[in-house]
């Protein structure tokens, strides 16, 4: 393709300078434009049809949180440490723009008590953990990131597994022969993360590709793209 028109260097030079200034000094304007271009509805399949989407999502989230509490009371409550952590509420101002990461950028940082490794919750569910902290900002790696790994326990019997992140997160390394009921709640069981935070519920189980373990797909009662505020655990 041979371009035929000679560009007006003054006009395009001015536009280039203006855009560079905006990128460096006013990125929030870009985030607002991006929010306008991004649909804010809940992804299909995350809530029951025929009911108010946001209300149903909230009920499902609450339901999973209650299941997690029940699981704790039935089998693992005795192992719960006395929790002394606090929380800081943070606004999600942007998301990683490319497909190979699933990260949220939030407006709380070290000045607010946020530290690397802090658990990040949305409506009582663990959605990720802090991986980078600045004075007033932090980066959250969500459970939908390819690199996310977290030891978890499943259901009231506390079956061990490894949460493996990605577009479709799953629990890997479940001992073969173990019965993992569909609908069992998956909770955190990792160092540095409060014990027993609900993550999702078991959707289906299968044998791992190497046939050495079982794995379980997860159903999440929220849409990660619809999250606007989170709670970050402070130590």
């Amino acid at each position: 393709m041979t371009p035929t028109r000679r560009p007006n260097l003054f006009i395009f030079g001015t536009l280039i300078v203006l855009l560079v200034v905006l990128i460096v000094f006013a990125p929030s304007v870009g985030w607002r434009l991006r929010a306008l271009l991004t649909p804010s509805d809940v992804a299909p399949g995350t809530v029951a049809s025929g009911v108010n989407a946001s209300g149903a999502a909230a009920l499902l989230t609450e339901n999973d949180a209650l299941k997690a509490q029940l699981a704790e009371l039935q089998g693992i409550a005795a192992a719960l440490p006395t929790s002394t952590q606090g929380f800081v509420r943070a606004m999600v101002y942007s998301r990683y723009p490319f497909g190979f990461k699933n990260e949220l950028f939030v407006n709380a940082g070290s000045a607010d008590g946020v530290a690397t490794g802090s658990a990040v919750e949305y409506q009582g569910m663990l959605v990720g953990r802090v991986i980078d902290v600045w004075t007033h900002d932090a980066t959250v790696e969500t459970v939908f990131d390819q690199r996310f790994r977290l030891p978890v326990r499943i259901g009231s019997s506390g079956i061990d597994g490894l949460l493996t992140g990605g577009s479709y997160p799953y629990v890997a390394s479940i001992t073969p022969g173990t019965t993992v009921p569909t609908g069992s709640v998956i909770v955190s069981a990792a160092q540095g993360i409060p014990y027993g935070l609900p993550i999702g519920v078991v959707q289906a189980t299968s044998t791992s590709p190497d046939r050495l373990f079982q794995q379980a797909t997860i159903s999440f009662p929220y849409n990660i793209n619809g999250i606007e505020t989170v709670l970050i655990v402070t130590h």
Binding site: M1, P3, R5, R6, P7, L9, F12, G13, L15, I16, L19, V20, L22, I23, V24, P27, S28, V29, G30, W31, L33, R34, L37, T38, P39, S40, D41, A43, P44, S94, R95, Y96, P97, F98, G99, F100, K101, E103, F105, D137, T139, Q146, R147, G166, S167, N223, N225
Partner: protein, 144 residues
């Protein structure tokens, strides 16, 4: 009225819109990169720079300029150089440039995905190639 410029802007806007919509539905494809690579075959560098910076302005997620955005911005200019040095017809040059640009982007920013999520990369590149041909057709139509 320069219809080609308007078409170029619409291609970038369409890529952003489709990429964000698919992203909200859980499908991750980087169509904007493909759109900018196509534009590199139609425009001179000052116009291309405006399109690239506009896309970077919308996509930049952090309060600073991230390495990913810098690389993302450099790839369309590499495609521009590719166009100048290799005299391939656009029908052949655009898919080759999109493929090479996407592979380069993943290789530098997320090499682990070649091991753990090859189907996702294939989906991304496949979607980018399809969108690239669509953008090419739009720009060709605007030239007439």
């Amino acid at each position: 009225m320069n219809y080609r410029l308007i078409a170029g802007f619409l291609v970038v806007l369409l890529a952003l819109l489709v990429q964000f919509s698919l992203g909200a539905a859980g499908v991750t494809v980087d169509l904007v990169l493909a759109a900018l690579v196509v534009l590199a075959f139609f425009f001179e560098w000052p116009q291309l720079a405006v399109f690239v910076l506009f896309a970077a302005f919308i996509l930049n997620a952090e309060p600073w300029v991230s390495p990913a955005i810098l690389l993302f911005s450099a790839i369309p200019f590499a495609a521009y150089a590719f166009r100048l040095f290799f005299t391939l017809t656009p029908w052949a040059g655009i898919p080759v440039a999109i493929f090479l640009g996407s592979v380069l982007f993943y290789s530098i920013m997320a090499p682990y995905m070649f091991m753990s999520a090859l189907p996702l990369i294939a989906l991304d590149i496949g979607g980018s190639l399809v969108f690239g041909e669509l953008a090419f057709a739009m720009l060709r139509a605007a030239e007439r």
